[in-house]
Symmetry: C2
């Protein structure tokens, strides 16, 4: 029987995380299918322990879902429209609960029915290092292409979109994009990653100049792929 100890957490407050990963030329976001309601998908989130910094809470929540520590994190906005977290108590859900009494206690608790103000965080992770874990209420946890985000619960589509906006705003000033890549990468890897984030193309030569002018990359050996063309250099981030 799943539990959710209400006494552990601060009431009225939640955290929702927009976790960005990158693979195969596509910016992706980690989303959970919820087991207590058919076809409901949402951002990974959680609550704040009574004796815990909010940044710490976000880190804990992300560790629980990704098994990663030292994740790059930014708090970007608080979401607090008065009806944003009204619980969707439909006929469908009621039928579902008949079949799955395990979750009934949690879902129908006063805790779940209260109003939540949610703190939005976005995170950047190396998708290959993530070991996706579900929590107690999740049916699955999957990566969705940013091009193909489904309808989400509550105001999670808005949170996701605002997170993306903040990501783009911060991208070049904070040089955070490299958090999406593995330790070493080619210039083409960086460019495709940028193009997936900004949904536009960049001129190859100018892009290379701009990136190298940041002065934070070290050039390593060449990467021979067996392809019949010049082998690209590998780079890694220094400092």
């Amino acid at each position: 029987m799943p539990t959710l100890d209400e006494n552990l957490y601060l009431s009225h407050l939640s955290i929702d995380c927009v976790v960005f990963g990158y693979a195969d030329g596509d910016l992706k976001v980690l989303l959970n299918k919820l087991s207590f309601f058919e076809e409901s998908i949402g951002l990974p989130g959680g609550f704040i322990h009574k004796n815990e910094d909010i940044d710490q809470a976000a880190k804990r929540i992300l560790f629980e879902r990704t098994s990663l520590e030292n994740i790059y994190l930014e708090q970007f906005k608080a979401f607090g429209k008065k009806n944003r977290s009204d619980f969707i108590f439909t006929k469908k859900l009621k039928n579902y609960l008949k079949l799955n009494s395990d979750f009934k206690a949690i879902i129908t608790s006063n805790w779940m029915k209260q109003r939540f103000i949610s703190l939005g965080y976005y995170a950047l992770v190396d998708i290959n290092k993530v070991k996706v874990k579900k929590n107690i209420l999740d049916e699955s946890a999957e990566w969705y292409s940013i091009q193909n985000i489904p309808k989400l619960i509550y105001d999670h589509n808005e949170i996701l979109f605002e997170g993306l906006k903040s990501l783009r705003n911060d991208f070049d000033t904070k040089l955070i994009g490299f958090n999406l890549l593995p330790e070493t990468f080619t210039m083409k890897d960086i460019q495709l990653m940028y193009e997936s984030v900004f949904e536009k193309t960049f001129a190859r030569n100018n892009f290379q100049k701009k990136i190298l002018d940041f002065g934070i990359l070290e050039r390593l050996e060449k990467k021979f792929t067996g392809a019949a063309n010049k082998a690209p250099y590998l780079y890694k981030r220094i400092q």
Copy 2:
């Protein structure tokens, strides 16, 4: 006897506002001296009604303090370190309470002792239109030059500084500076306002070009001050 109805508000949540005004070449911030503790100064703030959007709450709180509606507002960050709002229960305060039993009920209430996560908003106002009002716990409400901010309660210095950082970040992209000025103003007024916000000087001619290139100002008649020099044009914001 002052009251503070705890049942009205969401627990654990507060709002703190960094209200920016501009006068005499100085960027200013509205601060309150609190009556329940000698020499304690803080940002104007308040709590969120149980049935109220957070943006609405910020507007209400600002209306209570400034008598202004339609204030330019931006939510910029949530502050939630675990000990940030620990109540400073010093000997000094205890002595004070002996003399002022009126406030004892509020200050020693469980409400005031709980942990607060505070949502930071900044506001831009035409300082001449503000009718400063104190609330029940304030001894005074005054404008402080940004150059001369005293030590504030809790983490309010940090909130103020983060608000200023956000203001500077948003300034040119959102063209919000004109909210600090009256309806009409000279180019020099704008420049001095900018210089007080960024704490640096701008070249006069280039500054004028940049501002006019925004394309949001209309040139009006000249402003004759009686000074022995060329009279500057007045401008007002269009759209």
